[in-house]
């Protein structure tokens, strides 16, 4: 296996990880600030993808589509926060799980009712389609490089937001002591809605970006949701930094496991069987990674120590 191929696969892993980060950042913020397990986060990702496809299809502008994705997902997020989630902050985790599970059902079938049962069309804009040749002769799609860049930009933006702005101070304070910041005169319910909408917008953005190279269809959010949960658990729930590290770890493990495990089994098995065994084990690799991390550090890599 050539070094070019290995570098290309590492880029693929990075790109996957960065997209997972967009999903995971919102989840981990929402959990950190409000203590809420939001299973419906994958539905917001789907809302983003459908909004992008619909708006890009109508206007021909992918950028407008992405803006629509963030707006639509943020709106959907704000609405469910105000109508449903708000009543559940004091409820046990279990009630939150059931309520957000119910929201998945409503969102999935509602989207199908609006857009029909067939996948929607969404394509990469011409300017950033096709491959580019990187130093060393690696041909790599421009769009995937763009995804890595956007993801990193969002990560930096989030870091600045949390570390350097007034809202960021409130978010951090909210994670530490809810009663105190309410006592200090911060409108806590507005802050919650805002954080929820922000997390939703990030998920919507991820949906729109990824929708361009994948299939925009009902149920597209759930597989990503599960992986995003794996990411925030590995990183330590509530930690945006942990989500970033976790996302890259998961992205790289998943991609490189799928490539190298079959190669590894080929050393002592015949090709077809090695492919099947390797692929079977690689599909479990992310969960094995999570198991190992949790057994080693029961609250994740960057989680609060009890």
């Amino acid at each position: 296996m050539s070094s070019i191929l290995i570098i290309e696969q590492i880029l693929n892993g990075l790109q996957f990880g960065v997209m997972l980060f967009l999903m995971a950042a919102g989840l981990t913020l929402i959990f950190g600030v409000m203590g809420l397990i939001n299973l419906a986060h994958g539905s917001l990702y789907m809302v983003g993808a459908f909004a992008t496809a619909a708006v890009a299809g109508a206007t021909g502008s992918f950028l407008l589509g992405l803006i629509a994705a963030m707006v639509a997902a943020a709106l959907a997020g704000a609405i469910i926060e105000m109508v449903v989630i708000r009543r559940l902050y004091k409820a046990p985790h279990l009630d939150q799980v059931l309520a957000t599970f119910a929201l998945i059902l409503i969102f999935s079938e509602g989207t199908r009712w609006l857009f029909g049962s067939f996948p929607l069309f969404l394509d990469i804009p011409d300017v950033i389609s096709g491959p580019v040749t990187l130093p060393g002769g690696i041909a790599y799609p421009i769009y995937r490089l763009t995804l890595i860049a956007v993801g990193l930009a969002v990560a930096i933006g989030l870091w600045l937001l949390i570390e350097r702005t007034r809202i960021g101070i409130q978010i951090r304070a909210g994670e530490n002591d809810r009663e105190m910041i309410a006592a200090l005169g911060v409108d806590i319910s507005k802050l919650y809605t805002l954080v929820f909408a922000l997390g939703a917008a990030l998920a919507g953005l991820a949906g729109g970006l990824v929708g361009a190279i994948q299939s925009v269809q009902i149920g597209m959010g759930e597989p990503v949701l599960i992986l995003a949960f794996v990411v925030i658990v590995i990183g330590g729930i509530g930690s945006v930094r942990g989500a970033f590290v976790g996302a890259l770890l998961v992205g790289l493990t998943d991609t490189l496991g799928g490539v190298f495990l079959p190669e590894f089994f080929k050393l002592f098995m015949e090709t077809g069987a090695a492919q099947k065994t390797g692929s079977a084990i690689s599909s479990m690799s992310v969960y094995v990674l999570m198991g190992i991390v949790l057994i080693w550090r029961p609250t994740g890599l960057f989680g609060a120590r009890s």
């Binding site: 959990f31 397990i37 449903v84 009543r87 559940l88 409820a91 046990p92 985790h93 279990l94 009630d95 799980v97 059931l98 309520a99 599970f101 119910a102 929201l103 998945i104 059902l105 409503i106 999935s108 079938e109 509602g110 199908r112 009712w113 599960i226 949960f229 794996v230 658990v233 729930i237 099947k276 065994t277 692929s279 079977a280 599909s283 479990m284 969960y287 094995v288 999570m290 198991g291 949790l294 057994i295 029961p298 609250t299 994740g300 989680g303």
Partner: protein
């Protein structure tokens, strides 16, 4: 008007028994099959309720045991039906079509896996526990999908239901009888367990591990035993479910199924003895009634579930019997 919880429990069990008998008289065998499905799901959720309700450990991977039970049935019956002995290296095993043997295997294997998973998972708590159990469930799911020897994604069909001495299990009402009897026995044992010193210690461990420790008990050990019992019961339910459908597939391991089991318990009432049973009845009835109404029935199911969370805290039992403490 509030009802006494014991009266409520008795009424539910009576209803579960009366409906199939009525269906038998009306010659509506499908209704019997439907109730049997509710009984089996209830059994699985009763198992889960031991850790989730009594022990406060939210396992999001209990489909793992349901699937193990299912595959225990599938593999044993497959070898018996194809007359291909299972080669275990040291000795070969013919496979079996006998239900009691299958149940035993399903429970023992589930318990052993629960021991391993529990040892590793119980190091964590809260959301981390939810996620690590999910991770183990997913590992089994992907393993089953790639396990070509037993059908992989396609699953395994067992054409004839397994045998129970003295009964023809293919007759819906007889198979229902077997399942219902098991559910009653398990409910009785779980009720005894909850009132036993072990059950009290488990309840205490849920509320405060430290206090249990100061009493000289090891909370980890109590929780682990509960986890094993719980896994074995859910595994037994899995074996019955496989026999009901005469079919096993990796979907028995799916995280959606783990989620559904949790949903059953919440609908009925967390930590209540009969919570899972009521939840299973309501869920199966909703699924059946709404599915016939519209293509988009998931929306209505979602709305109903939301209403239960928002307006019926403590589940349906809580709604009926009032705010009596769930923990004796």
């Amino acid at each position: 008007m509030k009802v006494d919880e014991r009266v409520c429990n008795a009424l539910v069990l009576f209803g579960m028994l009366a409906l199939p008998l009525w269906a038998l008289a009306q010659d509506e065998p499908f209704t019997i099959t439907l109730v049997t499905r509710a009984v089996i799901l209830a059994l699985a959720a009763v198992g889960l309720n031991i850790v989730l309700g009594f022990g406060g450990m939210v396992s999001f991977g209990h489909a793992m045991f349901f699937g193990i039970g299912g595959y225990a049935m599938g593999i044993l019956a497959y070898h018996a039906q194809t007359y291909m002995p299972l080669d275990l290296g040291l000795f070969t095993f013919e496979g079996t079509k006998s239900m009691p043997v299958i149940w035993l295997v399903a429970m023992v294997v589930s318990a052993m896996i629960a021991l391993l998973v529990g040892l590793l998972s119980l190091r964590t708590s809260g959301v981390y526990f939810i996620m690590i159990t999910l991770a183990f469930g997913q590992m089994f799911f992907y393993f089953a999908i790639s396990w070509a020897a037993y059908g992989g994604e396609d699953g395994l069909s067992i054409y004839v239901r397994n045998d129970f001495p003295g009964l023809n299990t293919l007759v819906p009402i007889q198979f229902f009888g077997v399942c219902f009897a098991i559910l009653c026995v398990v409910l009785f044992l779980v009720a005894r367990l909850r009132a036993s010193p072990f059950g009290l210690a488990l309840n205490a461990a849920r509320q405060s591990g430290v206090r249990v420790e100061t009493m000289g008990l090891d909370p980890m050990r109590i929780k682990l035993v509960a986890f094993i019992l719980s896994g074995a019961i859910t595994g037994l339910a899995g074996a019955l479910f496989a026999d009901l459908n005469r079919f096993v597939s990796p979907s028995m391991f799916s995280w959606q199924l783990s989620g559904e089991l949790i949903v059953l318990i919440i609908i009925g009432g967390v930590g209540r003895l009969m919570g899972p049973v009521i939840g299973a009845c309501v869920f199966v009835a909703l699924e059946h009634a709404l599915g016939g109404l519209t293509d988009f029935w998931h929306i209505y199911l979602g709305v109903i579930l939301l209403c239960i969370v928002l307006f019926a805290r403590g589940g349906l039992i809580g709604l009926l019997t009032g705010k009596e403490s769930a923990h004796v």
